[in-house]
């Protein structure tokens, strides 16, 4: 049969093409453009080649030092909250009811933190943690802990991490719950018949069946925590010192505080690249976790 050639179809793609161009491609190209130039204002730009990138990756320069330090803090932060939120989310999902009205109650309660805007969450915890008028800060100090997130690095980290766990564990739990609900009853029945313990059921059925949603949860939580800005900014302002200054906070300081467009653009691009690479790593590792290995010799 003759293939029908109809170039009019291009017009149907055009709106999407324009939207993507103006919302993603053009701004990104502007950033690329800035990243290879320097400016002293007045809309005058000078060619700088890969200068900013060199500086960015050199810890001995001011820019490089600040970037690499905040990158390190950010990776540590993401690692800690993933290590807490993923297992905790799974545990919450496993202990949720399966039938009846308690399901609805649990879902609503879990969804609440997710519905609160970032800066409100920040404000809540900023007040909650204050030693003078905040419930948490006051209780900690009354119990004899010298807790003060404004002056102590560890306390600041503790507060920011606790806040993130409070805000986002629900997301992991809801995703896992959806994954658990999709497992047919026959699997549990078969496991009963096979005499599997609770732990064996989790390892052999629930965890593998949650693999897909866990991947989504890990990717979402990594990206979000790696781009975190508002909450720590509201609670600690990046301090004390620079101890909770994450990459996005540093970026805003450089771009808007110092108006170093070139440095900020170069930083943005590398920042973006790091996120892409880490997500790709997670994706590859987690999707290959269940796949076939070359057959080994001998009995299974």
């Amino acid at each position: 049969m003759e293939k029908v050639v109809n170039q009019k179809a291009w017009f149907l793609v055009l709106p999407v093409f324009l939207i993507v161009a103006f919302s993603a491609v053009l701004p990104l190209m502007t950033v690329v453009n800035y990243s290879v130039q320097d400016t002293f204002g007045n809309n005058q730009f000078f060619w700088n080649g890969v200068g900013w990138f060199k500086e960015l990756l050199d810890p001995s320069t001011d820019l490089g030092g600040r970037f690499l330090a905040s990158l390190g803090r950010n990776l540590l932060f993401s690692a800690i909250i993933l290590a807490i939120e993923v297992p905790l989310g799974i545990v919450v999902a496993l202990s949720m009811p399966r039938h009846g009205w308690p399901v609805a109650v649990c879902l609503v309660i879990l969804a609440l933190p997710l519905l609160i805007p970032w800066n409100v969450v920040g404000t809540i915890w900023q007040i909650f943690g204050r030693p003078d008028i905040g419930l948490m800060g006051y209780v900690f100090n009354s119990l004899g802990f010298n807790y003060n997130y404004v002056s102590n690095d560890i306390d600041a980290w503790f507060t920011v991490i606790l806040m993130d766990v409070w805000h986002w564990t629900s997301l992991v739990a809801l995703l896992c719950y959806a994954g658990l609900k999709s497992i047919p009853d026959a699997y549990y029945q078969a496991a009963q018949i096979d005499g599997a313990s609770r732990w064996a059921v989790f390892k052999a059925i629930q965890l593998p069946k949650m693999n897909r949603v866990l991947l989504i949860a890990v990717l979402l939580r990594f990206m979000d925590s790696f781009m975190i800005y508002t909450e720590p900014f509201v609670v600690t302002g990046g301090g004390p010192g620079n101890s909770t200054t994450f990459v996005s906070i540093e970026l805003v300081k450089i771009a808007l505080g110092q108006f170093d467009l070139g440095k900020a653009a170069a930083l943005s691009l590398v920042y973006n690249l790091v996120i892409l690479i880490v997500c790709w790593l997670f994706y590859t590792v987690m999707t290959n976790a269940g796949s076939e290995r070359p057959p080994k010799e001998g009995v299974a």
Partner: protein
């Protein structure tokens, strides 16, 4: 290895207080012999899976008792019952290899590794799974996955019974035959009690020595395939088993005669004592009704169509309001519209309120 007794066993998903008619399984008392091959046959929703799940302990009965070798295990958990069950759709442990899947029920029970390996190898060989033993189970076809499920059911040698819940639904027809005969062979070899749930009469009749027919939550008959065919205890068994099913026609029965619309059909036995208010029907299998040229003395029927099944032809006919099927004798040229029906008196059964009535000699 056990005899399984069901004593007044009944179950309702709506709780014990639900009206008796709504029970998914109405009270049943019966015995499953050690080493028997049973088929539980019935249409969807007749309670056969419920009965199976009660025996395996997935469902706890509303009433009655289950005894394994005389010991009451009604409240015992599935794990403690020592039962194997294979489900309708394959259940595979995704992260494990085929071998690990087969070993899982043994491993959970703390059996020595050498024994597990030997047993897994044996079952894999029986089910032709040896070449894929070290492969991940997830990547296999539905057929192979169901074979793994079957294997997990058969791998334990000490089970009281192996229960199959329509296990061959997802399997290709050709492989179905092979697997069924394999199961049959395994049954002979392993001396296991097997209970096989199906809605397919061929499957039931070829697999089992005893077929238990269920209808609307009740066990209506339990017997050998021949018994079910020759002497259905319930009209449901009559038309559910056999293809086409038994002809069931309302009739007036008196002594050795049955009357359909004024026409008399001779009966082999004497039915003088029939329950007065009961709905009386006669049942006769199409194999025992022959089509003949219309003649006086024969019940006259209107031919609607002829089904040619290859080895045998059946005529679909109408007598008054009743639809019947009748065998077309070989070489008989079927008349266009009307024909006579010749009944084999020895094969005509009488049913009162759907239950078989034994006549006097």
């Amino acid at each position: 290895m056990a005899r399984i007794d069901l004593v007044d066993l009944a179950h309702s998903y709506g709780g014990n207080d639900a009206p008796p008619e709504s029970f998914a399984l109405k009270p049943v008392t019966m015995t499953w012999r050690q080493g028997g091959a049973y088929a539980l046959l019935g249409p969807s929703g007749c309670g056969k899976t419920t009965l199976l799940n009660l025996i395996s302990g997935i469902v706890t009965p509303s009433r009655g008792k289950i005894l394994f070798d005389g010991t009451d295990i009604t409240q015992a958990s599935t794990q403690k019952r020592n039962i194997a069950q294979v489900f309708q759709f394959p259940v595979i442990y995704d992260t494990m290899t085929v071998g690990q899947n087969l070993a899982f029920p043994l491993k959970n029970r703390g059996i020595a590794k050498a024994e597990i390996d030997a047993r897994v190898a044996e079952i894999a060989k029986l089910l032709d799974l040896t070449p894929v033993l070290n492969r991940k189970a997830t990547r296999l076809t539905a057929d192979a996955k169901q074979k793994i499920s079957l294997g997990r059911g058969l791998v334990r040698s000490d089970v009281a019974a192996v229960l199959f819940d329509e296990p061959l639904t997802v399997i290709d027809p050709e492989l179905k035959w092979q697997l069924r005969s394999k199961l049959k062979a395994l049954h002979r070899e392993l001396d296991l009690t097997m209970i096989y749930v199906t809605h397919d009469q061929t499957e039931a009749l070829t697999f089992a020595d005893t077929v238990v027919v269920m209808h609307d939550g009740r066990v209506v008959q339990s017997g050998t395939p021949a018994e079910l065919f020759d002497k259905p205890a319930h009209t449901f068994v009559g038309y559910f088993i056999g293809s086409p099913g038994m002809n069931i026609v309302p009739a007036e029965v008196k002594g050795r005669e049955a009357r359909i619309g004024g026409h008399v059909i001779a009966l082999n036995r004497n039915y003088n004592v029939l329950p007065g208010t009961a709905k009386i029907e006669i049942g006769v299998r199409p194999e025992f009704v022959d089509i003949a040229a219309p003649a006086p003395g024969l019940l006259s029927a209107k031919i609607e169509r002829i089904d040619d099944l290859g080895r045998v032809r059946f005529a679909r006919v109408r007598v008054g309001d009743a639809k019947l099927a009748a065998r077309v004798p070989q070489g008989f040229s079927v008349p266009d519209s009307n024909a006579g029906l010749v009944f084999n008196p020895a094969r005509v059964h009488v049913y009162a309120d759907s239950l078989l009535v034994e006549g006097a000699a």
